[in-house]
Amino acid sequence: MGVPARPRTRNERAGADRTAIDTGILTNVGFYVYVSIVFALLALGFNLQWGYTGLFNAGIAGFFLIGAYTTAIAITPPTPPSIGYPGHLGGFSLPLWLAAILSMAAAGSVAALVALPTVRLRADYLAIATLAFAEVLRVVAINWESVTAGTIGIFPIPQPVEFNPPSAFLNAMVKVAIGAGVLLILLVVLLFMTESPWGRVLRAVREDEEATMALGKNTFLYKLQAFAIGGALMGLAGWLFTITINYIEPSGSFAPAITFSVWVMVIVGGAGNLRGAIVGAFAIYGLEWLSVQLKDYAPRELKDTIFYIRLMIVGTLLIVLIIYRPEGILREKKRILR
């Protein structure tokens, strides 16, 4: 489905680092690592919203989309419309770090706006409302051609560092380094945030909102903050996705399937646990990446169906885990009051 799993077609369509196709296993593993980090960022954002605060967001793909498009529009050089390409809003050629801030700000503020009316809703209403929001955004991205270039998508997006001569391997390593750096910084920040009194209130809201309110906490404001910060993290994931994949298009990459994958990651890893989200992201995306790798070795009759079988496995995993081990692989630390 829409998960960015097929570097081959992507690269072929984008015309970007074509050499990446056959440059050995390390480049490929690098691809696995940085896409996993993109998912890890999404999972961390969702974990903050659901794992810590109990806000069940089904519009992850929407915030991801905002971050990705903000970045794509900010960092691309001018692309005049040409035959077969309508062009898109852009040409700002902004530096990457500024695009990261812009993406987080855009996704975060939209998340806050979405949260204003919806965050007080029951979990199932919230899920439907956010899913609808994400789908509307995707429709807009498909149809607002003057800004997003429609279904054709935005490309080429420059590599983080241009090597001369072009080297897919070095590019992949740079992306891994950027991703790992961002992930590390975020982990430290999030660790402080979730262990702080602020994080404690979030968990209290999740466990018993009324009791927290009775303690004099403005639970609405806390929920709003958690949702907005989670949204900003998803925006950052969109930034990383755009600068690493170098090609974005609305139909596949931001489909609801992305949201569902992130749910699986957080549930597998363990909700309310930072490491869990990351472990889950690497594990579940690993499944997808492996299915791509194994495609060539698969028996002929399985070749076309292996993607679908993978998603069926993901679905089965969801059901089995939610029934038998809802706390995930790494369960949340029990905090006992003394």
Binding site: W50, F56, L116, P117, T118, R120, L121, R122, A123, D124, Y125, A127, I128, A129, L131, A132, F133, E135, V136, V139, V140, I142, N143, G216, N218, F220, L221, L224, F260, W263, I267, D304, T305, F307, Y308, I309, L311, M312, V314, G315, T316, L317, L318, I319, I322, I323, P326
Partner: protein, 321 residues
Amino acid sequence: MQYTLAGFRLSSIVIVAAIGLTVIYGIRGFANFAYGDLMTLGAYVALFVNMNMALSLVWGAIVSFVVLALVGILLEVLIFARLEGRGPVPPIVASVGVGLIVQNGIRAVATTQQWIFRVPFIPEIPIVPGLGFHWIRDLGTVAVGLAFMISVHILLTYTNLGKAMRATADNLELAKATGIDTKLVTYAAWAVSCSFASTAGVLLGLIGVVSPVIGFNVLLLVFAAVIVGGIGSPYGAVLGGLVIGLSQEMSVPLLLGLGASSAYKVAIPFIVMIAVLILRPWGIAGRPPPFARRVFFIEKILDAIGGRPGAAQDAERESGG
């Protein structure tokens, strides 16, 4: 005019699906995200009967009705009964899992190809230039929609099972206490819900093509209809389905008039839904909870930005306490 026609056509499908979805929502208390894919499954079962057994689509629809009812009971026994009493989120997650399995199972078995039901060809009857009337596509869907609405009304009002279903949806514990076999009622609800899904799926395939995502594509519309109408109320679902279907199709001339692409029409139902969620979260026909405050969130915003008179004092008091 043709938009009204399209609106009624879409409405009747959404209504059939929304009734099915709301029945299970009311009794089991969770949003079934697999519902769209169950609709697709219904369409494919009918397709299989239609193509491979060379029977008419009516038989296909009947077979698929029965098969899906069994699938629904199976889902309850295997999965959802184990998640009872765990809040709304775990069943949602499980239903997404079911949806993934069904949708991709269909892709794996029947490929992603698009199919068309084998039905007798009936030419459109032109009414005015540019507007055709199609017996099956237009009258058929609306008639089936009406028939289902009436049958649900009869089921809920005049049969013991229907009364038991309403009682269970209203208050599970109380229903149990009065000696209703709630387990049986739940199975019945799943059967009704999923068989309605199958018919909605067949209708969807009838007005377009059969593909692995037809159900999922309208899932959000169905949810919107359920929410607009009020969760758990079949009559609300009818009303919500009408509002949603008509608002989507009839917004087209308005959008074109504004110079926007008609592709944005799919966003309109969600705007309606968000508005309903803000102003009347329990839906048009639903019953408000005892302590509902309609403008709750507006007050909260004003509090947050300190705009409401007295908010500052409130905040002071809060921080002091």
